[in-house]
């Protein structure tokens, strides 16, 4: 396996799903079984990504492989300077692991969809859309520059739009698709502005070149504030795509799409693209930008977690849980726990995809019933679904032996360490509180769905375990939610292989703009030799202080998070299984809080009242302006032109036509006179001839 071969492999992985998309879309109506092409291609994509993962991690664990070519060369312009655009690929451990996760979940969702979408009238088109989504997502993962990332970013937005609105006959589905697309646009405006700042400053889109230039001291607007601003603007894209706090409203609505789509796009991969983007640009984020990111992450972790407590739609609960978990990752990046953010991204992708596919299995069995108040007792009917769903719930709640515990504990330890060093305990408190809430609402969901007595007897009778194509992906994902794939030691991820592959990148921001603990102790800026030597000894992430704090945080953090997870699960059992406590009574006691949570903190209403109504009002006033002022101007000019034309018409009719008519009458008059001579009588002619002769003689007389 040479490096060039790996790049070729990555290119093949990228374009295989696109071929599947093209074939499935063009033959969707003619060939019934064309979706099989897409499925075969996606399985091939997955196998190739396994090869890619293996060869990269085994043969080049410490190398970053880049391949690029010049796409556009506009030469040197007057304002922009040199304008060249390079396209290319960048393969490091983060890339190949992410690529593996994307390909695996995509393949499992394809297989699951064979059963779930059975009998749908746009069956082939559905698989075509999944194909273009996989293509775009692979593009985001594999690219080495921010421009390509932006292009694929919009492409995943498009495929998300197509798939949310897949059942577009339903008004709510098409509305949700539009909402998702528009809300994402708001974030993308920020991201686009950030890209423009980046390009005008560095004349390149390539991450590595930008990092290099920043480490040389080139800053946007020549100030650290400029760098912070650029980082926050780029992060806006992630806010939109990862459904973070102010723009999170689209994700719960996106659940109108088919459930496997929610698993693939709106839980595991696309929404994680925002986190992946922040992971990619992590070295250029200054302390200020990171702090903003941490605040947004904390809010996004907290608010949706409280909303998830009271929702009754199984998919909505999972959607809010997704936002909350993504908030965790963003928070982790914000407090500098880079490794654990990416770790959580991967573990979350697996167990959240599992939760969604499990809920899809339930929904399918219950004939599209999504309200958990009508479920219950499904444990006996659907043992595989129940077992896998339980594993995923244990993982997301942070119970040891499962993957979620490892990554979430790392994040919590990161916030703990951050609080220890900087005194900002806010993030740690939010993190731990959300861990409690997560355990509670997940087990509320499990108990209401699978335990107890069936509340809708009729639907319960008809429920049945899903077929092989739907159960197999659940089992695969459940296996991947167990600690063993990440580390041999179930309580300490540091010892595992996963974190050995993921290294926190060297920051390139100026020392003065970093968090105090991220300032490197070395006198000189980091150079290649230093990175090499750091690999030899125990890795120092940022500074000794940080390592110390992280080390101290590990044990208390671990115990606290265990207690909270256990407490949350216990509470859920008390409320819903053993009925020791009555949830309705509690809800009545804290009526305003309950209402706030049940109505999703009124975000939709606030946005409707402010932005939607504001936009409509603005549009109305603009329409008024158009109708009265612009139309008035146009009408005035029309009236004026008409009047002018009328006058000019009069001039034509009277003066010009008059002249012409006068000439005509004159000719007629002359003709009338001369007609007299033309009598037709020979004698008259002769008289005329003679007279003329006489006159001529008189004129020319010479005598």
């Amino acid at each position: 396996m040479t490096e060039a071969l790996l790049i070729k492999l990555a290119i093949v992985i990228l374009f295989l799903p696109l071929i599947g998309f093209t074939v499935a879309l063009f033959f969707a109506k003619k060939v019934k079984k064309v979706y099989l092409v897409e499925i075969v291609l996606i399985i091939a994509t997955f196998l190739l990504s396994v090869v890619l993962l293996y060869s990269k991690l085994v043969y080049y664990p410490n190398n970053n492989i880049t391949s690029e070519f010049q796409w556009i060369n506009l030469g040197t312009g007057p304002i922009m300077g040199k304008v060249t655009v390079d396209l290319g690929m960048f393969l490091d451990n983060v890339t190949v692991i992410m690529m593996f996760a994307v390909a695996l979940i995509s393949m499992l969702v394809h297989i699951f969809s064979i059963g779930y979408m059975e009998g749908d009238k746009r069956y082939n088109r559905y698989f075509a859309y999944l194909g273009i989504f996989t293509f775009s997502m692979s593009g985001i993962v594999l690219t080495h520059n921010v421009l390509m990332m932006y292009i694929f970013w919009e492409l995943v937005g498009l495929s998300s739009y197509l798939l949310i609105g897949f059942w577009y006959e339903k008004k709510s589905a098409s509305d949700a698709a539009k909402k998702a697309f528009i809300v994402n646009r708001i974030g993308d405006i920020g991201m686009f502005t950030g890209i423009l700042i980046l390009f005008t400053t560095y004349h390149t889109f390539t991450f590595q070149t930008v990092f290099h230039q920043i480490s040389q001291g080139v800053l946007p607007f020549n100030s650290e504030t400029g760098l912070t601003l650029m980082g926050i603007l780029l992060f806006c894209g992630a806010i939109g795509k990862s459904a973070q706090f102010p723009l999170h409203v689209w994700l719960p609505d996106a659940m109108e799409g088919p459930t496997p789509v929610s698993a693939l796009i709106h839980a595991a991969t696309m929404v994680a693209a925002g986190v992946y983007f922040v992971v990619r640009m992590f070295p250029l984020l200054s302390g200020g930008a990171l702090f903003v990111i941490a605040v947004i992450g904390a809010l996004s972790a907290f608010i949706p977690a409280t909303i998830a407590l009271t929702q009754n739609d199984i998919k909505k609960v999972l959607a809010y849980s997704t936002i909350s978990q993504l908030g965790y990752m963003i928070l982790a990046l914000g407090v500098g726990a880079y490794k654990f953010a990416f770790f959580h991204l991967i573990t979350h992708a697996f167990f959240k995809a599992l939760l969604f596919l499990g809920s899809g299995s339930v929904i399918h069995a219950m004939h599209h019933e999504q309200d958990i108040r009508n479920m219950g007792g499904l444990r006996k009917k659907m043992p595989i679904t129940y077992a896998t769903f339980l594993i995923a719930s244990l993982a997301i709640s942070g119970v040891p032996l499962f993957s979620g515990f490892l990554s979430k504990d790392g994040i919590l330890a990161g916030t703990f360490a951050f609080g220890y060093i900087t005194g900002q305990w806010f993030f740690a408190i939010v993190g731990y509180f959300v861990a409690l809430l997560t355990a509670f609402y997940m087990f509320r969901l499990v108990i209401l769905t699978f335990h107890g007595k069936p509340r809708d007897q009729h639907k319960y009778e008809h429920a049945h375990e899903s077929s092989f194509v739907m159960a197999m992906p659940l089992v695969v994902l459940a296996t991947l939610s167990i600690f063993f794939f990440y580390t041999p030691n179930p309580v300490n991820p540091e010892a595992g292989w996963f974190l050995k592959w993921i290294k926190t990148p060297e920051l390139v921001t100026p020392q003065s703009s970093r968090y105090s603990f991220m300032r490197s102790d070395a006198k000189e800026p980091a150079s290649m030799t230093e990175i090499k030597s750091a690999e030899a000894g125990p890795e120092v992430m940022y500074s000794e202080t940080y390592e110390d704090a992280l080390h101290h945080a590990h044990i208390p953090g671990l115990i606290l998070s265990l207690l909270l997870a256990g407490g949350g699960i216990l509470l859920a059992f008390m409320f819903y299984q053993w009925k020791k406590l009555d949830p309705d009574k509690l809800a009545n006691k804290v009526q305003p809080l309950y209402k706030l949570s049940f109505n999703k903190w009124y975000f939709d209403e606030i946005y409707y009242a402010s932005f939607v109504a504001g936009t409509v009002g603005l549009s109305k006033s603009l329409a008024w302006f158009d109708n009265t002022i612009i139309d008035g101007l146009v009408n005035f000019s029309a009236t004026f032109t008409r009047g002018f034309s009328r006058a000019s018409g009069k001039f034509d009719n009277i003066v010009v036509d008059g002249l012409v008519n006068f000439m005509a009458y004159l000719s007629a008059f002359i003709g009338l006179i001369f007609r007299r001579f033309q009598t037709g009588k020979v004698q008259t002619y002769i008289v005329l001839v003679i007279f003329s002769l006489v006159i001529l003689l008189l004129i020319f007389k010479t005598f």
């Binding site: 037709g680 009588k681 020979v682 004698q683 002619y685 002769i686």
Partner: protein, 103 residues
């Protein structure tokens, strides 16, 4: 008794010419118009012969007069034929009423 000279002939021929013109212009009958033409031709003949007699031209004048007489005969024949055809077409030979030339 004055001597009869060239002027007398010329006056006679002029009178004859004017009468011919007068005949052509005033007469309604086509035959009368033809007679007017004959008068004009004859006035010309008189001129030729008078100049031949009093001028120093040899016999050329008389010869041309002979030609004119022959020509007049031919012309009269053709003209009478035309008049006959006119009569066939219009049922009269009144020149006043024949104004087809106007069209």
């Amino acid at each position: 008794m004055t001597h009869i000279g060239l002027n007398h002939f010329l006056v006679i021929s002029s009178i004859l010419f004017c009468l011919g013109i007068f005949g052509i212009v005033t007469r309604k009958n086509a035959v009368m118009v033809l007679m007017g033409i004959e008068l004009i031709l004859n006035s010309a003949n008189i001129n030729f012969i008078a100049f031949a007699r009093y001028g120093n031209f040899g016999f050329q004048g008389q010869l041309i007069a002979l030609f004119v007489i022959v020509l007049a005969a031919a012309e009269a024949a053709i003209a009478l034929a035309i008049v006959l055809n006119i009569y066939k077409t219009f049922s009269n030979i009144n020149v006043d009423e024949i104004d087809k030339l106007r069209d």
